[in-house]
């Protein structure tokens, strides 16, 4: 979204260094989603739409509370419902607020070819700058969480900004403000991590969820949206949260070895052809010997 006044530390598709990186004090923000106290009221979805100026989208019905299958370019925040049957036969309604995770190592940014279309701020927010987006969809390939969504009308990609516009002026994100149960929290990464660990411990010791834990996946260097889960061993149960998310290997292969091999081969090829010309020169036609002149 709009270029905020916060410090930028990474820019997609940008040759050379990032202007002004590393000047500020460290201030990493984080959103904590406690799935164990979420009641699925969707207040956060409405707040997100309102703040970002979108209208409510048409819902689908599939015999559950799920109102649409996944987030959309104009619907950045969606509660994922899962009716989970436990080993003892009892039913548990798992609800997870799905939105951009604001990865420390963002696959979207890694994949993006457009100079300045995705930036990562020093506070951890990963934000799309639609003015620079060319609509190639590479970010969709790079993201392990199915977050960036392509708008066929705008030919650009949109996703949750972590309310960068609010955060940069000292406000909390709109979803946090709207949550009636207090299952959403916002603060610094270390504060939120402490709070989450404390809550997980409570769930393990007091509430009998032996596998309760915090979701802050290490494969992408941690995220700036973290979850408390009753069952941290099976994050997939929560609307398909990947167990060990990482930047896809194919994206790494494409952006690292293939890129450098390709660049070397192209430069090497051009130099090689130039040297060939200097060494052997042009091929010239030769006179036809008498026996090959004219039709027989």
């Amino acid at each position: 979204m709009s270029q905020a006044s916060t410090e930028i530390i990474r820019i997609s598709g940008h040759a050379g260094t990032v202007p002004g990186a590393g000047l500020n004090r460290e201030f990493q923000v984080c959103k904590l989603v406690d799935t164990t106290t979420c009641i699925g009221c969707k207040a956060c979805e409405v707040a997100c739409l309102e703040w970002n100026g979108y209208t409510f989208s048409q819902t689908t019905f599939n015999n559950s509370y799920q109102t649409m299958p996944e987030t959309a370019w104009n619907y950045w925040n969606l509660i994922k419902f899962n009716e989970h049957e436990r080993d003892d036969g009892s039913m548990m309604l798992l609800m997870r607020k799905d939105q951009c995770m604001h990865c420390e190592e963002p696959g979207c940014l890694e994949a993006c070819p457009a100079d300045g279309a995705i930036v990562q701020y020093a506070n951890g927010i990963v934000d799309f700058q639609e003015a620079h987006c060319i609509g190639c969809g590479y970010c969709v390939t790079g993201c392990p969480f199915n977050i960036p969504k392509f708008s066929p009308e705008a030919h650009k990609v949109f996703k949750c900004t972590l309310c960068n516009d609010r955060v940069s002026v000292g406000l909390e994100p709109a979803c946090i403000k709207a949550c009636p149960t207090g299952c959403l929290h916002f603060g610094t990464k270390s504060e939120m991590k402490d709070l989450a660990e404390f809550r997980a411990e409570q769930l393990r010791d007091v509430s009998g969820f032996a596998d309760a834990g915090v979701y802050d996946p290490a494969g992408i260097g941690g995220t700036h949206v973290i979850y408390v889960l009753h069952d941290a061993k099976n994050p997939e149960l929560y609307g398909g949260l990947p167990k060990d998310p990482h930047i896809p290997y194919s994206v790494w292969l494409w952006k690292k070895p293939l890129k450098w091999l390709g660049n070397l081969a192209m430069i090497g090829g051009i130099v090689g052809l130039a040297l060939h010309y200097l060494r052997v020169g042009p091929k010239k036609e030769e006179p036809i010997p008498p026996e090959d002149r004219g039709p027989s």
């Binding site: 040759a15 390939t141 194919s250 994206v251 052997v280 042009p282 006179p287 036809i288 010997p289 004219g294």
Partner: protein
Amino acid sequence: MSTTDTVRRPRTTTDFDEELIPRYTFVERVNHWFGAVTYSYCLITGLAFWTPYLYWLAAIVGGGPTARFWHPWFGLFFTVSQFFMFMQWGGDMEVDNDDRVWADNIKAYIENEDDKLPPVGRFNWGQKIYFWAMVGSTILLLLSGFVLWYVEAVPWSFHILRYVAILIHASVALITIGLFLIHVYMSTLLEEGSFASMVHGNVTRAWAWTFHRKWYYQVTGKSRPNQ
């Protein structure tokens, strides 16, 4: 060039040697240049997406979003040119035994010792390989390009398709770029007369005799000696 050659033959070509014979029809030339232009567009825009150091290339075709919009369309146009090229030249591009001998001695060709090579038909082994590699690559680029084209059309459950498509598309594009560089170098700089033949459609008798001798015998009705 061996010294015996220079003794046996005159140094310069005669008027007869410089007479023109047709090599490419008007339709063949139009299609060739249609392919060249559409490929070059894909090349320029593709390289812009390929590396940040070449992203400026997008600016010369109207900026990133414009390049992204047209790249797949020009890819489609390029595919059309390749289809017609296949219809026009497919028959002449079959690799025969002389070509295999030629390929075994390709070192002589690279070192400009063409007189050590077996006589060549309308196209030499290198041109034939370039042709078939381009035809095959076009199919792969088209299939992988389609997956990347309409971003919203590939559901998340099929997202592995994207991983496969981008790797295939980029790798195959690189292979064609390598071949394309060689092709452009050979036909503009290396083999004098080639570029003009694709513009005017004609070559001199001497050019045909030097580089495509079997074809020269064929089109001039001169039977091949010792045969």
